[in-house]
């Protein structure tokens, strides 16, 4: 039966009869200041330049707050505060006491989870269901997990005496603003380092709220410093001679610039960069659950996920059936207000990112690729992109090779496991991958052949603080999470 016959004969109606009334979380619950300064040495401080920039809510284009732009002098001040805190307090403190501070941060986050979830959705555009059920719980889990390590490092690395490096400079992206902050701050603190961290310029709010929480936790001044700004601020951190380690999560393009800047220095660095993961569906897969995994793989967080399963590779014999089911499933996805508890797909993080995604799609149209988008209504204001499939593509197309970082899935077929593996590995990236089959031996055989840092079997986009995360090839250097993630913050002597 051809694809066309299937869809015309047996279509399901998802848009009629019963739709859910709006069920929004109230933003009245949170307090957002008009203006946020830099968090240096335990205090909020004016930037030397006096410059501020704004951050908008991408779902309605309204300005949420103003944020200070940190320049060279501000970064100098932050690094000096971090150095002083490291030498004077944090590295001298018994590890058990360090752990207590991190536990305290975790507990305070737990108490204020709802507030942080709402803030995160307002600033980043992600649906409240995700910030409430995934981002914030993961943030808390990361602090708890690393709090436990603080006084047990010698058991993680038996036979050596692990020592902190000193001051860590950390630059994080806008897709998981608070979660990335947790991934960076928690291991640095647990290993006895102090931190200068820069959140992304489109999503600084949750990090500044974290600064307030860190004050409430009585963390010694200077242990965590939060400087806001764009790429220039980031480069001040990267180039700073008194920073011992750089941890960066973001685009491969910027990663390469950082790597060049680090060349010839003795500073350590970890880079967690882009991805173009394949989700491989074999014909013996649990198809209905695989459809869920595909949806979760690419539409989670509007596709703003470095490990997103953005390339669907499906065994030819089941391709028509699978794609039809995928389209049916996509019709039930609710796109809209990130604060609505029923929203599945929120707003694209920024105008810049939306333009980038739409640029890819118009190029696809020009090169005769087949684009399928769901029919859902979109709000008038804000930045939105419907869930999108792109068919009639091959390895030679830009949309198959480059990271779109949006809700856009390319579809290709394969015939044999070997072909699936070669298509999967035919990319400059190697961050993650997915294998779907009911046959256990095939999972191991194929999983072993994929050159990527994380392989999921019969699931996708699962995260846990105990599990190392990181990439092969242009997806990065180093690992975060688990014991592996402690290592880049330690000197083993």
């Amino acid at each position: 039966m051809s694809d066309k016959e299937l869809t015309t004969r047996q279509s399901l109606r998802f848009d009629e009869l019963w739709s859910y009334d709006p069920a929004p979380e109230s933003p009245d619950y949170v307090k957002i200041k008009e203006q946020y300064q830099l968090f240096i040495d335990g205090k909020f401080q004016e930037p030397e330049s006096g410059n501020y920039f704004d951050s908008v809510n991408p779902s309605n284009e309204e300005v949420l707050a103003l944020f200070a732009e940190a320049g060279k002098k501000d970064v100098d001040k932050a690094v000096a505060a971090a150095r002083k805190a490291h030498n004077g307090v944090w590295s001298k403190m018994p590890a058990k006491e360090r752990g207590k501070y991190i536990y305290r941060i975790a507990r305070l986050l737990q108490e204020r989870a709802r507030e942080f979830a709402i803030i995160e959705s307002m600033d980043s555009g992600k649906p409240i269901r995700e910030s409430r059920d995934i981002d914030i719980p993961q943030v808390i889990a990361h602090f708890f997990y690393h709090a436990g390590w603080a006084d047990k490092l010698k058991y993680a690395f038996p036979g050596v005496d692990p020592k902190p490096l000193g001051v860590a400079g950390q630059i994080i992206p806008w897709n998981f603003p608070l979660l990335m902050a947790a991934w960076k701050i928690a291991p640095a603190l647990a290993t006895g380092n102090t931190v200068v961290i820069k959140p992304a310029e489109t999503t600084p709010l949750s990090a500044l709220k974290l600064a307030e929480l860190i004050q409430d936790a009585d963390l010694p001044p200077g242990v965590v410093n939060i400087v806001t700004g764009a790429g220039e601020t980031g480069m001040e951190i990267v180039r700073h001679p008194d920073i011992d380690k750089i941890a960066f999560t973001g685009s491969t393009e910027v990663g390469k610039i950082i790597q060049k800047a680090m060349a010839g220095t003795d500073r350590k660095y970890t880079l967690e960069l882009g991805g173009k993961a394949a989700n491989i569906i074999f014909d013996d897969a649990p198809v209905n659950q695989a459809v869920e995994g595909i949806v979760n793989g690419i539409f989670f967080n509007q596709g703003h996920v470095c490990c997103a399963g953005s390339r669907l590779l499906v065994q030819e014999g089941i391709a028509d059936e699978l794609v039809q089911k995928l389209k049916m499933r996509m019709e039930t996805l609710i796109v809209g207000d990130p604060l609505d508890k029923n929203t599945d797909i929120g707003a694209i993080n920024s105008k810049v990112q939306l333009d980038r995604i739409l640029g890819f799609l118009s190029e696809s149209v020009e090169s005769d690729q087949r684009i399928y988008q769901t029919k859902c209504d979109l709000p008038e204001k804000g930045y939105w992109c419907r869930p999108t499939l792109v068919e009639n593509v091959s390895q030679s197309h830009r949309i198959v090779q480059e990271e779109v970082f949006g809700p856009v899935l390319t579809i290709q077929t394969f015939r044999t496991p070997a072909e699936a593996v070669s298509l999967t590995n035919n990319t400059p990236y190697g961050l993650s991958g997915g294998v779907w089959t009911d046959k256990g031996s095939k999972i191991f055989k194929v999983g072993k052949s994929i050159r990527a840092g994380v392989i999921w079997a019969n699931t996708f986009n699962k995260f846990d603080p105990t599990s190392p995360f990181g990439g092969y090839k242009e997806s990065g250097i180093g690992r975060e999470g688990g014991i592996h993630g402690l290592l880049p913050y330690l000197e083993l002597s």
Partner: protein, 298 residues
């Protein structure tokens, strides 16, 4: 074409349970809630299946089906009442002209451990007495032994005995244990002619669960895609509160779409659910809860 039932679609347990957890996060408020509560009430098969069922009890159940809450005339009727074959005639007479269906369990309910001939006779008797829906049980012993042909043939034979009556096939999923088995049994039932597939007798624990129901809804969808035929679904037993019922409806809507949000294609086999739905409907309309004593029992 009848598939090879030894080769049916594999089911991933974790994936099914995660999907169900997503349905449970749907927040149903205001008008959409009232609509769903009324719909759920229209889908209820009011059931009494006890050895102690007497004519008096059955009659009262029928009155309850006709007038769930007489004080509010906007409250809809339930879909059907479900009784043993010996009470079918009484139920049909009591419900005459109401449009409420009379369903009867048959085929040596609940174990199914009878001679096939006598099980078929029981079906014929219930239909002659006036039942327009038959709830049969499959031979789990044969299924678990791997004799799928036996199960297929018994369903086909009972379907024939039903004549014009609709056939609901009870898989008794609590005894099948795995989702793979549930999927396989669903496929066998549908290809053999089931009009509805139903989870449980209510006599075995666990009875209906959301994951089991999702596996069956997935089977119904695949069958529809392949054949164009719409088979109904009836989770039975264990669904007691409105919130759970609404999550079932969310699951139906997002798996099979609006066509299945209809008592002709989806039923709840439940007895205590109806009253909780009534209570919630009144709460939704008046803004406050009333004591359970304001709602009729039974």
């Amino acid at each position: 074409m009848i598939p090879d039932f030894k080769q049916t679609v594999p089911i991933d347990q974790i994936g099914v349970e995660e999907r169900v957890a997503r349905f449970r996060t749907r927040s149903i408020k205001k008008e959409s809630k009232l609509f769903a509560l009324k719909l759920a009430l229209r889908m209820v098969d009011l059931t009494t299946l006890e050895g102690m069922d007497s004519p008096g009890k059955v009659r009262q159940l029928c009155y309850k089906a006709l007038y769930p809450h007489e004080i509010d005339p906007e409250i809809p009727q339930v879909a059907a009442i479900c009784v043993y074959p010996n009470h079918v005639k009484l139920a049909v007479e009591t419900l005459k002209g109401s449009g409420i269906h009379v369903a009867s369990v048959a085929t040596s309910f609940p174990s199914g451990m009878g001679r096939l001939e006598s099980r078929i006779d029981e079906v014929k008797y219930a239909v002659e007495e006036g039942a327009d829906e038959i709830d049969m049980v499959i031979s789990r012993w044969a299924f678990l032994k791997g004799d799928y042909g036996y199960v297929y043939d018994e369903i086909a034979a009972i379907k024939e005995a039903c004549g014009p009556a609709h056939l609901k096939v009870i898989l008794e999923t609590g005894e099948l244990e795995t989702y793979d088995n549930v999927r396989k049994a669903s496929d066998i039932a549908m290809y053999a002619g089931a009009d509805f597939i139903k989870t449980s007798t209510g006599k075995i624990s666990p009875a209906a669960t959301m994951p089991v129901t999702l596996v069956m809804l997935g089977a119904i969808r695949d069958y529809y895609i392949k054949t164009g035929n719409k088979v109904g679904m009836k989770p039975a037993g264990g669904i007691r509160d409105s919130k759970t019922a609404l999550h079932y409806l969310v699951m139906v809507k997002e798996t099979l779409g609006a066509d299945w949000l209809d008592p002709d294609l989806f039923r709840f086999g439940a007895s205590s659910l109806a009253n909780d739905l009534l209570m919630q409907i009144i709460k939704q309309k008046t803004g406050h809860y009333q004591s359970p004593d304001y709602f009729s029992i039974g």
